[in-house]
């Protein structure tokens, strides 16, 4: 069974490192977005639902 198993794509160290960096950057960006929405919700209070056109 194992003999037939394809090795698949093996990432080089550089590829692994850059992918990890990109993943961390995306996580940080999403974290900032969540914090931003949370902070604005606190600042606006109930008025957060009032959005003038």
């Amino acid at each position: 069974m194992d003999d037939n198993k394809q090795p698949g794509i093996v990432l080089t160290e550089a590829q692994k490192k850059s992918r990890r960096q990109r993943s961390i950057a995306i996580a940080l960006a999403l974290g900032v977005l969540v914090l931003l929405f949370f902070a604005v919700t606190l600042v606006k209070g109930p008025a957060v639902l009032v959005r003038p056109m």
Partner: protein, 312 residues
């Protein structure tokens, strides 16, 4: 029998080695810094109190929107970027990021910046930011840039909009003051970029971009620089006597405006050799200082007005 030689085609998926820095480069950080600064001024001169969190959100969204425009611009222009010395080192020509990845990055950032500004601040600002991104990425990059020598004149509107977006974020509406800021940046753009184009005209010619020096020649460009500078200096001075901005702004505008005029006259007079090259480079460098100083003084006037009642 197959007509395709599968051994000759690399069917392995492309694994990206792009680093975070390459994606940051797509955002055009230097352009973004000017956008942040002009937007901050637009926000600060608005006659309303803006909560710091909302002010931060607005500036962040405008900055990310500007970055999205930059990424979309690089995605479309990767072919000519590879031909020009100034842009050959960008992530797509270097092979670090593909055109599709840059486009996806730009679209994602554009979507999030517009929606966040609209939802958290107001939809006038959100709509204006969407229009700014559209104008830069589609009207300027796709339509105007390779079609007309007036590309940066009309396209300059996109670069002039950030303070207007910021004012709208603060007030939810528009007024004369942000439009004055818009006009100052709008008329500043041609002398600034044509000064750059004069000493980079070989680059633009090689890439087939119809910049004014390439299409109409350096002498016609020098005349246009002088004419636009005269209009710019007049427009930048007008808000003072009209009572929109204070005396500090007026004096700064007068003194630095005289400097802009003097340097553009020098560009017009010196047409050959090292003197011509020096004159254009001086105007290009001074134009950055000119715009920065005008907006910095506006910011200073706001700060002084806020602090003065506490001191006296």
């Amino acid at each position: 029998m197959s007509v395709v030689d599968h051994n000759a085609i690399d069917l392995s998926p492309r694994i990206s080695e792009a680093e975070v820095g390459d994606y940051i480069a797509l955002l055009k950080p230097r352009v973004m810094s000017l956008v942040i600064f002009t937007a901050l001024v637009g926000l600060m001169i608005a006659p309303v109190h803006v909560h710091p969190v909302l002010a931060f959100t607005s500036i962040l969204c405008i900055a990310v929107g500007a970055g999205a425009s930059g990424a979309l611009n690089m995605a479309y222009e990767h072919d000519i970027d590879a031909l020009m010395t100034r842009t050959a080192n960008r992530p797509i020509p270097r092979g670090k990021i593909t055109q599709g990845e840059a486009a996806a990055f730009g679209i994602t950032l554009a979507f999030f910046s517009v929606m966040t500004l609209g939802i958290l601040v107001n939809w006038v600002a959100g709509a204006l930011l969407a229009f700014t991104i559209f104008f830069y990425a589609v009207v300027y990059t796709i339509w105007l840039k390779r079609w007309t020598a007036q590309n940066i004149v009309i396209g300059g509107a996109a670069g002039a909009l950030p303070p207007v977006v910021a004012w709208a974020a603060a007030t939810g509406s528009l007024s004369v003051e942000p439009l004055l800021l818009f006009l100052i940046i709008f008329f500043w753009t041609p002398p600034h970029f044509w000064a750059l184009a004069l000493f980079r005209s070989d680059d633009y010619a090689r890439a087939g971009v119809p910049m004014l020096p390439v299409v109409a020649g350096p002498d016609a460009t020098r005349l246009q620089i002088l004419l636009y500078t005269i209009v710019l200096v007049a427009i930048a001075l007008a808000p003072w006597p009209l009572g929109y901005f204070g005396a500090a702004y007026g004096v700064t505008s007068l003194v630095l405006g005289a400097g802009m005029l003097w340097l553009s006259i020098n560009v017009y007079r010196h047409r050959e050799g090292i003197e011509a090259s020096r004159a254009t480079r001086r105007l290009f460098a001074f134009s950055i200082l000119y715009l920065f100083a005008l907006f910095a003084v506006l910011l200073l006037e706001v700060v002084v007005r806020a602090i003065a009642p506490m001191v006296w």
